[in-house]
């Protein structure tokens, strides 16, 4: 048994992979659009963090600051007819598909204008029109659902695919392993995207699993897998593009493990809320593997892009975020009748 293939190696070492991205052969226009989306996600989550700190948001929020490249890279080649599922840390998954910032903010504030009509909050997002089929906080809860969405797509004979984001912690739930097997044996078009940020709340992966490369589970189920730097937008985009294309062609499931790190605590706005775990040294190092900075540096080195351009983009994004927050804050709550009216499907 080759145990090396069970380990992440340098991918888990924050001193590696800090250089500007290799953007050779990429479309600069697309890259800038992707940069803007990453920046939008970051500023939205920073705003949410600030509002959590100011106690303006009561609902628990899990921020994915530092992990933006994954959702942006994976979403690039998805279509609105695809079916994407998230988990508890899914703001980015929703936004990267084109989910509206105001709808996200309003949802987090429990307003009727929210993407789940104020019934779900940060942990239960829905965005049918952009192909976001739902996110939930029960760890691994959506993984078998995505397998079912892929089954439906296959029955329909469509080229649609299902995508599900899961964490390294989620890989410890039994249903993941059942899901991998089903997807493999029925050759279903589902992409498992494992955001391996090395932590499940306060627990480092070394305390929870015998080795740290989660894709080994997929390989054991005969699913083609790749483990890549999750803070490299270019690599994430290319790998998921290849995988999704193969799935659309009837190639069966794929497993994409993206190695990353979250900058904030497990839940809430603080960096240091993972009580019992001293992450501060690692966090400082991981911030040097910032997916946004590495793309900005690459664009700058390539020319036609500079600090000025970046700041102009950033200001526009911040204005958009502020506007969305203000709109959300003044939006009304769901009516009291929503409590009972939304339990079952309405009869028409």
């Amino acid at each position: 048994m080759d145990m090396d293939s069970f380990e992440l190696g340098d991918l888990a070492n924050p001193r590696c992979y800090t250089e500007p991205l290799d953007i050779g052969g990429c479309d600069p226009v697309l890259l800038r659009a992707q940069l803007r989306m990453m920046l939008l996600i970051r500023r939205v989550e920073e705003k949410i963090g600030d509002m959590l700190a100011a106690q303006k948001i009561p609902t628990p929020c899990h921020l994915g600051i530092g992990q933006e490249a994954i959702a942006v890279g994976v979403s690039e080649y998805l279509r609105p007819t695809d079916r994407v599922f998230g988990a508890h840390r899914s703001h980015a998954h929703f936004l990267a598909l084109g989910g509206e910032v105001t709808a996200l903010m309003a949802e987090i504030l429990g307003r009727d204008a929210g993407c789940s009509r104020g019934m779900g909050g940060s942990m239960h997002l829905w965005g049918g029109s952009v192909g976001f089929f739902g996110s939930v906080p029960i760890v691994a809860g959506t993984v078998p659902l995505a397998v079912g969405a892929a089954l439906a797509a296959k029955k329909d004979g469509e080229s649609a695919v299902a995508v599900v984001y899961l964490g390294d912690g989620a890989a410890e739930e039994g249903s993941i392993h059942e899901s991998l097997n089903l997807a493999a044996v029925w050759k279903l078009p589902v992409l498992f995207v494992c955001e391996n940020n090395l932590f499940s709340s306060h627990m480092h992966i070394s305390l929870r699993q015998p080795s740290n490369r989660v894709a080994r589970y997929a390989e054991a189920h005969c699913i083609q897998a790749a483990t890549v730097d999750g803070n490299d937008l270019v690599v994430v985009s290319r790998t998921s593009d290849d995988m999704v294309a193969a799935m659309r062609d009837g190639g069966g499931p794929r497993f994409l493990e993206v190695v990353t790190y979250r900058w904030r605590g497990h839940v809430g706005y603080r960096e240091d809320n993972d009580v019992g775990v001293n992450r501060s040294t690692d966090l400082t190092l991981w911030k040097r593997r910032d997916p946004i900075r590495r793309l900005v540096d690459a664009l700058t080195m390539a020319g036609g892009w500079d600090n000025h351009a970046f700041h102009a983009m950033d200001e526009a994004v911040k204005t958009e975020v502020e506007k969305a927050w203000q709109q959300a804050e003044t939006a009304p709550y769901p009516p009291a009748s929503a409590l009972l009216d939304r339990v079952y499907a309405e009869r028409h």
């Binding site: 009561p58 609902t59 628990p60 429990g110 307003r111 104020g118 019934m119 779900g120 909050g121 942990m123 239960h124 939930v136 906080p137 029960i138 760890v139 691994a140 809860g141 912690g169 989620a170 410890e172 739930e173 039994g174 249903s175 499940s200 709340s201 306060h202 627990m203 305390l207 929870r208 699993q209 809320n273 993972d274 009580v275 019992g276 709550y333 769901p334 009291a336 929503a338 409590l339 009972l340 939304r342 339990v343």
Partner: protein, 342 residues
Amino acid sequence: MQSGIDMARVNYGSAIREAFVYLLDRYPKVFVIGQGLWAKWYVGNSMTDLDKFYGTERIMDSPVSELACTGAAVGASLCGYRPIVVHPRMDFMLYAMDAIVNQAAKWSHMVGGQAHPAVTIRGIINRGGEQGAQHSQALHAWFAHIPGLRVVMPATPQDARDLLIASVLCDDPVLYLDDRWLYELEEDLPPVVECPLEQEGSRVVSRGDDVTLVGAGYSAWLCREAAAALQQRSISAEVIDLRVLNPLDVSTVIQSVEKTGRLCVVDGSWSSCGLAGEVIARVSETLSPRKLLGAPVRITLPDAPAPTSGFLEKLYYPTLDTIMETVARLVIREGVHAKAVD
């Protein structure tokens, strides 16, 4: 310091911790598995630093694997250990249903009473704070439905401590369900006296003549508060804390309703096929309708999952006011207690 017994002031959360300390100190076969046991915020103050005192081999923080952890605890219990599995929220525990319902609950009966899984499964009820549908459930009635499972729900710091000890020392699988909304509740506790769980049951916690209020866990606390407030409106309520939901003993309730003629059951879960309905059914089966001055009532959650929006949450959970109004209506409607109207 009554009657020379040393009393110590604790809250509900630290009372649970005292039970762990008591058990881990005295019973080497006790160990604990669960998520968040090495963190400070998962289970409130109920297990603080136990890993530091008893070591990580006895206080095992676990991967996110509810089913395997619970099943493993059941297995270890069949080999002489007394494991406690901790689920920081009941909702997460649903992944462990097979280990609890098919395995632990059935084992003794299935093997002719020759082996008993002496496992304690601690599920924490934690709701409110805009946590939403999957982080708010109180599913005690489900488990109380299952023969073979003992189900306990402590409403006071003393019960939080003593019922946990009794659960772990019991030879049967026990579901111990504590409630985060009670963690701040304080009480002076006497030293521990071990008491077999088999002998524990419902208890009258305050006397009254006009109406019988029944609850378990947080609902029992609500009932006590309501009784105190109702006194000011000259309504005298008798309060019964069920404490043990399976096997369920309603003899105290029946005796009480025989006296008051009125029954109001409060439950922080849903109505359908629930605990409140079960209590009312058993009273109705036993008492002649002539003893009742009014139809029994239940106060429960609306038939909907927990909403997230704080605005809807306020409408969702029964409060002291809900109970006061319901009881006042029950007492006044029947015209017996005219002085209740002020």
